[in-house]
C-alpha cells in the first residue's frame, strides 16, 4: 500500500510538485545521504532489483552529477544535471534531465531541509518548464490521491480474469 501517512505531495504552483517527508534524524545526516555517493547509492534505487552503478557528484555550484540505474533485466536509466545552489546542510538545488526524457524539457529540483527536535522535514520540490510537463509527472503517480485511483486499476490489472476487463473483452467480441 502507499505510504500516504508520511509522504505528502502537493502542487504549490502550476509548474511545481512538492513532496514532504519527515525523517527521524538530524538534517546533517539527511543532507549527507542526499549528497554523498556512497550513501545515495544505498537508497535512491527505485523498484526492487534495481541498483545504481553510476553515482558521481561534484558538489560545487556549477558542478555536475550523473546517476545511472540498472534494472534486473539490464535496462539502464540515467539522469544528469548541474548544481545551482548548495547551502550545507539545509538546501540543495540542481537541474535534472533524464536521458530518455519522459517529460519535456529540464526540471529544477530543490531539496530543503528543516530540523526540529532532532527530526528533519525534507521538502523536495520539482519545478518543470511547462504545466504540461508538470502534469505528466503528476499523473505518473506522484500525487497520492491520483495514485489511489490508479491503485485500483493496478489491482484489477494484476488479477487474471478480473471483472471489468474480462467482461469488457467478452462483450466487445460479441
Amino acid at each position: 500500500m502507499t505510504n500516504t501517512g508520511t509522504l505528502k505531495v502537493t502542487t504549490p504552483t502550476d509548474l511545481e510538485i512538492a513532496m514532504t517527508r519527515v525523517f527521524d534524524a538530524p538534517r546533517r545526516l539527511v543532507f549527507d545521504a542526499l549528497t554523498k555517493p556512497e550513501l545515495l547509492k544505498q537508497w535512491l534505487l527505485g523498484p526492487p532489483g534495481w541498483s545504481m552503478p553510476i553515482c558521481e557528484i561534484d558538489l560545487r555550484v556549477g558542478g555536475t552529477y550523473r546517476f545511472v540505474w540498472r534494472g534486473p533485466d539490464g535496462t539502464e536509466m540515467g539522469t544528469r544535471g548541474v548544481h545551482r545552489e548548495i547551502v550545507v546542510p539545509e538546501r540543495l538545488v540542481a537541474t535534472e534531465r533524464f536521458d530518455d526524457a519522459w517529460y519535456p524539457g529540464e526540471a529544477l529540483v530543490t531539496n530543503a531541509l528543516v530540523e526540529q527536535g532532532g527530526k528533519t522535514t525534507l521538502t523536495l520540490t520539482v519545478l518543470y518548464e511547462s504545466r504540461e510537463a508538470r502534469d505528466i509527472a503528476l499523473k505518473s503517480g506522484m500525487e497520492q490521491g491520483v495514485a489511489a485511483s490508479y491503485d485500483r486499476l493496478a489491482e484489477l490489472l494484476a488479477t487474471p480474469g478480473s471483472r471489468g476487463m474480462e467482461k469488457g473483452a467478452k462483450q466487445s467480441q460479441k
Partner: protein, 111 residues
Amino acid sequence: MATLKALAEPNRLHIVELLLDGPCPVGKMVNRLGLRQPQVSKHLRVLSDAGLVDVRVDAQRRIYALRPAPLQELEVWLERYRRLWEGNFQRLDALLDELKTKEKKSGRTKR
C-alpha cells in the same frame, strides 16, 4: 503519453473508473456522472482516440468498454514512479538509523 493526457481530466478518469465495473451504455454514464450527454460524448471520444475504450452499438444504445492494453502500459509506468519514492524513502529511513547508531558508537556529539 496519450494515455496520460486522456486520463489527466478528472471526468475522464471517473469514466474509466466507472468502466472498471464493466461495459456501460452512454445513457447510464450520463446519469452516474451528473454531466450532460454532449460532455460525456466528448470525453468518450478523447478516451477512444487514446485507445482506452471500445464502443459497440446494441440497438439504439452505444455501449463502451475498457480496452486493457494502454492501461497496462500506464500501470507499468505508474508503478515505477510510485515505488521509486516509497521504496527510496523507506530505505533512507533505514540508512539514517544506521548512521545515527554509528555516530553514537564513535562517540560523536549530537551537534
